[in-house]
Symmetry: C2
């Protein structure tokens, strides 16, 4: 959408807070004549970058005019820009800065998923009452424009479920384990060495990052505040190459999914866990560090797929939001914000139902299966199939159950863990229904 | 985004033109209390369906109040609704009706790809100068919100290529041929019998439908009017099961693609043809009647996937547009429209370059390959690999070339066709580059 901007139009004054990987990519676009002209054309007015707040304003940064660097973020906000682009990250002062920006009458573009996963409601209502925009496309699934699609294209639709591969690190680990038949620790070590995972990988592999994104997706899809602390969460550390093999023989791949699901007219469930995804499901084709979000609506499913992280893809989402906020400034309006006042109940994990995959390390001796099967049966969990993998010390039993509640399955796992013949509980995976295409 | 609509807000008055499959699904949602309330919540004002213009207003339609049915579309427009939803299709009067609606000050939502593929520029500028919205999400790839993503999320980005599977019928035929190793005529006959293809399948299988969508995608992506008559077009009728087999051995699947590609700072190419897609490309996983659009931006690729046709998915796109148009009415604004005044040159097909797959039916006799290879060589087309399939009367030679221009390849094909040893030219497929992930 290039349009020669009206040179008489007042410029959109943009302030950027933070200049890390994403911030530098955003600032790079705003300082590049061609990219800046394209953005101006899309907005219908020129953009003026009025300042960049950084911790060390005196440190030279290649390609960034030093005159734009300031140390005092609050003073930059108080200078009255039209749009604040917040890329500082989760430090304590950020929330206060965003409140100040909104109170000043600035629209806010942020990629701060940790902040939003706790403070979305407060920021949304503050922005709505001040008549400014709050955009956060970059906070969920990087370059994928899922927030805009949920907020506009699918607004007013009856959504039944959102399934997201929203953490590139864990998807890289799982798909690499699957393809190269390597074990979790091995691939994780490689991911850390290659910079695909943090030295402390807990935020990714334990599902914290995915839970923040699940909270945001659920909030937007079901118009109800969901905090990341509301999200039932399980990571991928227990998944082995043998599990991926067994899943493959059963017709599935394993992915860490963020699930936001409607369970009735007024009930939803939000959770993050590794899941068995049928091989013919579009999510099964999402490889490596890519992200994807599969939205099931009454009218059929829609999937969006793309890079989930990285400076340039995330900056792309920020710039898309900047275009939207800028256009609204030109039109002297702001976007209809989600109300987040939906009353639907958040169902406890124990009440939700699915089929399960469970791996058990067991002693290779007679009678083990009978003892194990008795535990399943006494908890009302019906077994669809069982397979023994390996022999002797490496013997594992792998079960696929018929649908049961999480509570039933948790009780089963607890009792199995106490059996003498069971040496360890392995991965517990939820089975996702086939694609409803 | 459910929000209790402001009961004091003036309702958004909506008129629907046409009540076929999509129209009935849209009207069904507007007449359903729960769906209508959800739409009202998303818009921020109630919706009032003021009338439905149909050819036979006296014919009863289940679930639709007969009091809403009118025969005179023009009178309905003149009654001054806020939004006109045009689902009549490509009859000559439609353009005039849309002009009248815009002149009246109504925003327009249309699914009419045939009309837009010729008249997008006139309608866009008329709507912009009248200050109303023109939305057409449902005209391209059904439920997939690609128009909104291109117009907003990716606006101002440097897009390099858009690859679309935008015709569900041909994708169903090709993927069924591939999976069941059946030939084109056989699967086409089944598709017609099952209602997946029209009795006269030409609009689909010859690529006319895909060319209209390619024209729209290119217009939006590159901000320049592209007419469907500008789109180089080739259908799938020459593709055989043996081609799909051979492509598979080479690591590809075959898909009918709409391609809109930037070839330089001021040059684009727009075309529709069957193409060899690498098996690890996300588009290769798009199965059956699904649609998908793969957008390559400087910041990385994004793919959207979903149902491309059918009443309910198409209605979903219409309702998303209705939400956007309604919100803008409430805010007394309209969306920044594409300017379509970009100056980039539309490159002739002959100037474009790719690697090619070419199948030849040949006499099974010595010297044939030498004669064929000489023709390739004399046109400067270098052969990457060759494979003979079948023997005797069924003998076919299958070539994969290194990159060459379409002009070189066309000259090669012309000369090959004149060789005595070549009994028929088979499928000519363009090879798509691997995913730039």
């Amino acid at each position: 959408m290039r349009r020669v901007p009206d040179v008489t139009a007042a410029p959109i004054r943009v302030a950027v807070l933070g200049c890390g990987t994403v911030g530098a990519a955003v600032v790079g676009a705003l300082c590049d004549p061609a990219a800046s002209a394209a953005l101006a054309g899309a907005i219908g007015a020129p953009i003026e970058l009025v300042g960049i707040a950084v911790a060390h304003a005196d440190r030279p940064r290649p390609g960034i005019p030093s005159s734009l660097l300031v140390a005092d973020a609050r003073a930059l906000i108080d200078s009255g820009p039209d749009v604040i682009v917040e890329l500082i990250g989760p430090i304590p002062e950020t929330l206060e800065l965003l409140h100040a920006a909104i109170d000043q009458g600035a629209s806010v573009v942020t990629a701060n998923k940790a902040l939003l996963a706790t403070h979305l409601a407060a920021l949304t209502s503050r922005a709505a009452s001040r008549g400014v925009d709050l955009y956060y496309e970059a906070a969920v699934a990087g370059a994928i424009p899922i927030v805009r699609v949920l907020r506009t294209s699918l607004a007013g639709q009856h959504l039944t479920r959102v399934l997201g591969i929203v953490n590139g690190t864990t998807n890289f680990i799982l798909t690499t384990m699957e393809r190269e038949r390597r074990d979790y620790e091995d691939v994780l070590a490689e991911a850390i060495a290659r910079g695909f995972a943090e030295a402390d990988p807990s935020a990714d592999v334990d599902g914290h990052d995915a839970a923040q994104k699940a909270a945001l997706l659920a909030s937007i899809a079901f118009d109800r505040v969901v905090l990341d602390s509301d999200v039932a969460r399980e990571g991928i550390a227990k998944v082995t190459a043998a599990d991926l093999d067994a899943a493959g023989r059963m017709g599935f791949v394993v992915r860490l999914l963020a699930v936001a699901e409607r369970l009735g007219p007024e009930a939803i469930s939000v959770r993050v866990h590794p899941a068995m995804v049928p091989k013919d499901h579009p999510l099964a084709a999402v490889d490596g560090a890519a992200n994807a979000v599969f939205v099931e609506a009454a009218s059929g499913p829609v999937m969006l797929q793309g890079a989930g992280a990285g400076g340039s893809p995330t900056a792309s989402a920020v710039l898309g939001d900047l275009v939207a906020a800028g256009r609204n400034r030109v039109a002297r309006t702001c976007e209809h914000a989600p109300s987040l006042d939906g009353a639907c109940r958040l169902v406890e994990l124990g009440e939700t139902t699915s089929a399960f995959y469970l791996a058990l390390e067991v002693l290779d001796q007679p009678g083990v299966l009978a003892a194990v099967a008795t535990v399943f049966g006494s908890n009302g969990v019906s077994i669809e199939s069982m397979e023994q993998i390996g022999r002797a010390a490496d013997a594992r039993l792998v079960f696929l159950t018929h649908p049961a509640t999480e509570a039933q399955m948790a009780a089963t796992a607890l009792q199995l863990d106490k059996l003498e013949a069971v040496t360890a509980l392995g991965a517990l995976l939820r089975v996702v229904d086939g694609p409803s295409r």
